[in-house]
């Protein structure tokens, strides 16, 4: 009999169990590969088209910003008086044109990206780290400490960000450095992270594996940062990523209003503002504006991709 057993109802129940057990042992012995939640998340992220688009976009844009002194054809303050308000050109020296004193727009945009990138990334990193510590302590120890910390974050969250930013910026005068802006923005952003971390810690501290870790004698710090933190990383990474975009927009906004980073350092917001004086010279405003939009879109795509990758339960249907 050459045909397989399923044709013969008498034989099927005899061969099937044997075959299955064989498969299982083979699979257990050889094919089980340790695959962490992270590697699953990475796979999901790499298959997320928009996120990959955003990631590539960010790498290109931020890469250019980081290597500004190498990539930019001119320095950001180099004046070319023979080519003032020159429109974008594919044949000349100034691909994105020049401004009213003949500075190369492309170079200024690239340096502007560097500023935005510095602000966005440091704000995200600083506020995430700080919010994480505060939120972890708050959620883990609870009690009066938690109460005090949470009332402080409530207070900060009730403050209108822009009003405070403008006031502080006005008080500091027009000579803010990148770090002042970073400091102010991070002062607002840590609260969001702290609340998220606290919330997850409150639920995680009741988990049995936390109790089990206590029962083997693990200390508080080890439990907080080794056992609980990895379980909260998903939402933290997502919020942190989105904070990059928020910080970049706020910095641009401040700079646009003239309260941002001091001259002559270019920033995307400042470049947009400069073009206002020359409505006919569209390139001065539109190109840095587009770059700003592109950065924020890319960051948000990456953030979305991370959310989908790290939180499969919340996954939405994608095209």
């Amino acid at each position: 009999m050459t045909e397989p057993a399923q044709l013969d109802p008498q034989l099927a129940p005899m061969t099937a169990p044997g075959g299955i057990t064989l498969d299982v042992t083979a699979a257990e012995g050889l094919e089980l590969k340790a695959r962490s939640q992270w590697s699953y998340a990475r796979r999901r992220f790499l298959r997320h088209r928009l996120a990959m688009f955003g990631l590539v976009g960010l790498v290109v844009i931020f890469g250019a910003g980081a290597l500004a002194s190498v990539v930019a054809p001119y320095s950001f303050d180099q004046i070319d008086l023979t080519n003032v308000l020159h429109p974008p050109t594919m044949v000349g020296h100034h691909v994105f044109g020049t401004d009213e004193i003949g500075r190369d727009s492309l170079s200024r945009i690239i340096y502007g990206i560097r500023t935005s990138e510095q602000v966005g990334l440091t704000v995200a990193v600083v506020s995430t780290l700080f919010g994480l510590m505060v939120g972890a302590i708050s959620g883990y120890y609870r009690g009066w400490l938690d109460n005090v910390i949470m009332r402080v974050t409530d207070l900060i969250l009730t403050l209108p960000v822009l009003v405070v930013l403008l006031t502080v910026a006005a008080l500091l005068g027009r000579s803010s450095s990148v770090w002042t802006i970073v400091f102010i923005l991070a002062g607002f952003y840590w609260t969001g992270i702290a609340r998220i971390v606290r919330g997850t810690f409150l639920s995680l501290r009741e988990k049995e594996y936390v109790e089990a870790a206590k029962a083997v004698g693990a200390g508080d710090l080890r439990i907080m940062f080794r056992h609980m933190l990895p379980n909260t990383l998903g939402p933290i990474v997502v919020t942190g990523t989105l904070a990059v975009a928020d910080a970049i927009i706020l910095e641009a906004f401040l700079s646009f209003l003239g309260f941002g980073i001091a001259d002559p350092t270019p920033s995307l917001g400042k470049l947009v503002a400069e073009g206002q004086q020359f409505p006919q010279k569209w390139w001065i405003t539109v190109i840095p504006g587009l770059v700003l939009v592109l950065i924020v879109i890319c960051v948000n795509f990456v953030g979305d991709g991370l959310r989908d990758a790290l939180d499969p339960q919340q996954r939405r249907v994608r095209a």
Binding site: L32, S36, E211, A213, V216, G217, G219, P230
Partner: protein
């Protein structure tokens, strides 16, 4: 008999809640001797788990509070120990196996890390490859197949029985002298239960650890334990060696528990549950907490008014807390009525 390893006296644990103070454990005393297996049985909420959690300082405070008592372990009182000393104690001298293996392992950390941590916490200078070897040995001891492969896997790649084995391995990592197993088989199906109990036995033979086995499964008690404590409403109602308790129970609650077991040897249509429901630990019944459900009490005033003390019953090792425990001597017939499903009570 040898000196006890652990000696608990008058332990009381309370929880403050919005509706009142819950007396989860109300003045219990018992000893655990080296190498023995002590079973603690009782229904949900009888204080079995809480009494042992208190030993390791795992009662969340507040709302919990250890109201009174001492727990002498080799001459030191666990209940008044500084948190830092207690931390060194946990996992090193006293270790715990938890009820639900599905949630007791951290999903984001490899098994090797979590077991290794149990060792590293207490022996920080141990080199990593030694720790890893020991972890693999431990997994082998508890019967995890392919331990050198399994060790690098995550908990979600383990089945329930495997995880409980891993938890047991974690508990015995530092050869503790006391192992507390809090309903170690409740979350597992029957065939796996038997395997896990087998593992516990092996482990006990290897490490000579005294074991406190908390369970509500009398079958497991009969199988595993040397001595038994029966708890009801936060108190010990009967204590004795396993044979005496099963053969000649002297507390009506124990009798009820044994009667309620369906027996394969008898042709019975209906179960014989204990009537009524567990007592509220906030408003405990006056006198003997069991009297409203008791077939012996039947409205006797002493049961309602006086809290019965543990008194010697069959032999010096056997104690029961019932005013009328003598009436149970030599009883054979069933006291509880069979109850038909759906008939109400």
């Amino acid at each position: 008999m040898a000196d006890p390893l652990l000696s608990i006296r008058d332990l009381a644990v309370e929880f403050r809640t919005e509706v009142g103070v819950v007396h989860a454990v109300d003045g219990i005393s018992y000893d655990v001797f080296p190498g023995e297996t002590l079973g603690i049985v009782g229904e949900s909420g009888s204080g079995k788990s809480v009494s042992t959690m208190a030993l390791l300082g795992l009662i969340p405070q507040p709302p919990g509070r250890i109201a009174s008592g001492t727990a002498m372990f080799r001459g030191t009182d666990l209940l008044t120990m500084a948190p830092k000393d207690l931390r060194d104690f946990r996992g090193e001298e006293v270790a715990m196996v938890f009820q639900d293996p599905m949630t007791s392992l951290n999903p984001v950390l490899k098994v090797a890390y979590q077991l290794g941590e149990a060792i590293k916490t207490h022996h920080p200078k141990e080199p990593d490859d030694k720790v890893r070897e020991r972890v693999i040995d431990l997994l082998r001891l508890v019967g995890v197949p392919n331990p050198d492969v399994r060790v690098d896997q995550y908990p979600h790649e383990f089945s329930g029985g495997m995880r409980q084995r891993a938890m047991i391995a974690m508990a015995i990592a530092n050869s503790p002298s006391l192992l507390i197993a809090d309903e170690p088989t409740t979350a597992l199906d029957v065939t796996i239960q038997a395997q896990v109990l087998e593992v516990l036995k092996t482990v006990q033979e290897e490490t000579h650890a005294a074991t406190i086995l908390i369970t509500h499964d009398l079958g497991i008690v009969a199988e595993m334990c040397d001595r038994v404590l029966v708890m009801y409403g936060g108190r010990i109602v009967e204590a004795g060696d396993v044979h005496t308790i099963f053969r000649a129970p002297r507390h009506p609650y124990t009798v009820g528990l044994l009667d309620s077991l369906p027996k394969l040897t008898e042709d019975e249509e209906w179960l014989r549950p204990i009537p009524g429901s567990p007592p509220s630990l906030i408003n405990r019944p006056s006198g003997c907490a069991f009297h409203p459900r008791c077939f012996l009490s039947q409205g006797r005033t002493q049961c309602r008014e006086t809290v019965p003390e543990l008194r010697a019953a069959e032999g010096p090792q056997h104690h029961a807390a019932c005013h009328y425990s003598e009436e149970l001597v030599g009883h054979q017939s069933k006291f509880s009525e069979p109850v038909q499903a759906g008939s109400g009570s």
